[in-house]
Symmetry: C2
C-alpha cells in the first residue's frame, strides 16, 4: 500500500489539492485594523442582520460559504464533503450554517486550530480521491464567545496584559483536484500538549509549546529548514506566545524569527486598537488565511507558506475544576507550485 | 486520479482497513442491562475513581484506549493518528484523555454520531496510507451530560415518554492496514438534516430523518439492498425514532424492519430499567459497537453490518433561542470478509 505517512506525525499529499476558492468575512473592529482591505465581506454592526450573537455567527459562515462558491462559480451540490467547526458549545455555529444544505458534513472541534484542522482533513479527502471538492470552514464571534466564556460580562473584569480579543470573523476554503493553485502539499498533525499553564487569560503561553512541537516535527519529518518557507504563520499565539515560540525553537537551534508571523498579531493594530496581546478565536486565523495570506500567495509576494493553526482546548468547566490548558497545533503547507 | 467517491455522498475504501482491536467501558446501569457481559471494563460507581463527572469521563476514555492497546499488544506510540470527540462543551472529555500522550489527534464534534464519524475518518486515513494505525474514540457520561444539558437537576423535571437516557460508556477502535478483520469497506457521510422538531426530549424524532436520508443514500450509491447486510444498526434513535425510521424507509419501498436494530434499544432492558425510549449519548453506540456488535461479528453470528451513527446537534442555547434540532447520520459498513 502507498505510504503517505512521514516520520512521527506528518503526511504528504501525493496529489496536492488545489485551492479553488476562498472567502473571508469580518466584523467592525477587524475592518478597522491593518487587514481591512483583505476581507470579502464586512459587517458594520457585527449582528449580520440576526437577533442573537449565535445566529450572527451562523450567518457569517453562510456568507463565507456563499462568497467562496460564487467566486469559483460552484453550487453547494458541487461540494462532496465539508469539514466545519467553531468555538460554541456543541459547535452550533457550524451545524446551523450547514443545516439542510445537502452537503455531507464532518463536525470538528479543534478550538482556534480549526481552520488548519479542517484544511488538513479536506486535503486528505481530495488527495485520497474521496471527494472531488471539499470545503473547510470555521468562524468565531466576539460576542458569542464572551457570552460563553466570560459571562456575565457585567462584572467588567479587567483584561490582563496577556489577554487576547476574540476575532469576529469567518473563513471558507474550497479545495479541488484540479486548479491553478495555491496547492496543499504536506501537513503535520498535532498531539495534545499541556505544560501546566492555568491562566485562561494567557492562552499564548499555553499554546506556544504545542506550536513548538508541531513546527519542530514538521521540519524534522520532511528534513526541511525554516528557509524552505517564506512565511511560517501561527494561528493566534499573540505577541507574548509568539515570542515564546521563537525562543523555544531557538533553544533547539531552529531560527524562525525573521519569517514568523502570527494571525493574532497581524489582524489588529495592537497599540491603537488596545488589543493587549492580539486577536484569537477560530475566525482569527481563518479570516487572515482566507484574505491576507492567500492574497499574498496569489500576488506572488510569497510562494511557500506553513500555516500552523493553534488551539487552546480548555472549557470554563475545566478551568473551574483547576485543570491546566491542553493545546494543539496542526500545520499545513501551502505553495504556489504544485511541487 | 483514483476516485473513491460514489454517488451523492458515499465513499469506498480501496484497501479496507482492518479492525485490530476494540474495547468498551460502561457504567453501573449499563452493567445491569442485557449487554452486561459484552463490556471490557465496568465501574460500579460511575466515578471511575475521579472527583468530578467530567474527569470520570476522561478516565473512561483512557481506560478504553489502554484496554484496546493491550489487546492488540500495541503502545500509544504505535498509533499514527486519533479521531476523538464527545458531548461535553469544548469536548474536554477527549482532549484531556489524549493530553500529553504524544498521539497526533483530530478533535471531532458529531454529537452521538461520533463513533461512526471517527471510524469513518480513521478508515480514510488508514486506507489512504496517511496512517498505519488509527484510533477512533468517544464517550458519554450520564452525570456530566445531565449537568450540562439539564442543570439544575434539583428541579426534578419529569421525563417524558420519548426521553432517552444518556449512556455512561466509552468505546475505542484501533484500525490498521493489515489484520484478520473485521474490515471497513464503505461509508456514507451524512449532511445536516432538520425537519423542524423542537422537542429536546424527543431526539429520536429529530434524528430519524437524518438516518433515513443516509441509509437511503448508502443503498442507492452502492446499488445495494437491505438484504446485503445482516444487521443495519442505528446509534440511538430509541424505540420511537426507530419506528419512525422503519416507516420512512418503508414509504420508499425499502424494508429494513427485520434487520434493523438500535444501540439505544439494545443496551437497556427498557421496561424493567425504566428507560422510556432507550439509551443515547456518544457512549451508547460506541460501547455497543465495541462490545456486543464486534463480538457478534467475531463469532460469525453476523458477517455484514451497516453501522449508522446518529447525532442530534442541538445545544441548550440553540433550544433556548427557539431553534429546531439539526441532526446527522454517518454510516460505515463493517464486514468479516475483506471483500
Amino acid at each position: 500500500m502507498e505510504s503517505n505517512h512521514r516520520g512521527k506525525q506528518s503526511l504528504v499529499f501525493p496529489q496536492p489539492p488545489a485551492v479553488l476558492s476562498y472567502a473571508s468575512v469580518a466584523g467592525k473592529k477587524e475592518s478597522e485594523g491593518p487587514l481591512r482591505d483583505s476581507f470579502d465581506v464586512v459587517s458594520k454592526d457585527t449582528s449580520f442582520g440576526e437577533k442573537t450573537w449565535e445566529k450572527a455567527e451562523t450567518q457569517m459562515q453562510k456568507t463565507a460559504i456563499a462568497r467562496a462558491l460564487e467566486k469559483a462559480d460552484l453550487q453547494e451540490s458541487d461540494i462532496h464533503c465539508a469539514y466545519v467547526g467553531d468555538l460554541l458549545n456543541q459547535c452550533i455555529g457550524s451545524t446551523f450554517s450547514m443545516r439542510n444544505n445537502g452537503v455531507p458534513t464532518f463536525g470538528l472541534y479543534g478550538a482556534c486550530s480549526t481552520m488548519a484542522e479542517s484544511l488538513l482533513l479536506a486535503s486528505m479527502s481530495v488527495s485520497g480521491g474521496y471527494a472531488k471538492r471539499a470545503l473547510a470552514l470555521t468562524s468565531s464571534h466576539f460576542a458569542s464567545s464572551e457570552r460563553q466564556y466570560r459571562f456575565p460580562l457585567g462584572y467588567g473584569g479587567q483584561r490582563t496584559p496577556t489577554a487576547q480579543w476574540t476575532v469576529t470573523g469567518a473563513g471558507a476554503v474550497i479545495l479541488g483536484q484540479q486548479g491553478d493553485g495555491p496547492f496543499i502539499r504536506r501537513a503535520t498533525v498535532g498531539s495534545i500538549v499541556d505544560k501546566g499553564i492555568k491562566d485562561a487569560a494567557n492562552m499564548g503561553a499555553a499554546m506556544a509549546p504545542a506550536a513548538f512541537e508541531t513546527i519542530r516535527a514538521h521540519l524534522d519529518d520532511f528534513s526541511l529548514a525554516p528557509e524552505d518557507y517564506d512565511v511560517i504563520v501561527t494561528g493566534d499565539l499573540g505577541k507574548f506566545g509568539s515570542q515564546l515560540l521563537v525562543d523555544l525553537l531557538e533553544r533547539e537551534g531552529i531560527r524562525i524569527g525573521e519569517r514568523h508571523e502570527d494571525c493574532g498579531v497581524l489582524i489588529f493594530d495592537i497599540e491603537s486598537q488596545d488589543m493587549h496581546c492580539g486577536g484569537s478565536g477560530c475566525g482569527c486565523s481563518a479570516s487572515v488565511l482566507c484574505g491576507h495570506l492567500f492574497g499574498r500567495l496569489k500576488k506572488g509576494e510569497i510562494n511557500n507558506l506553513l500555516f500552523c493553526g493553534t488551539g487552546a482546548m480548555l472549557s470554563p468547566i475545566s478551568t473551574q475544576q483547576g485543570e491546566s490548558i491542553p493545546s494543539v497545533c496542526h500545520a499545513v503547507s501551502i505553495h504556489n507550485e504544485r511541487g
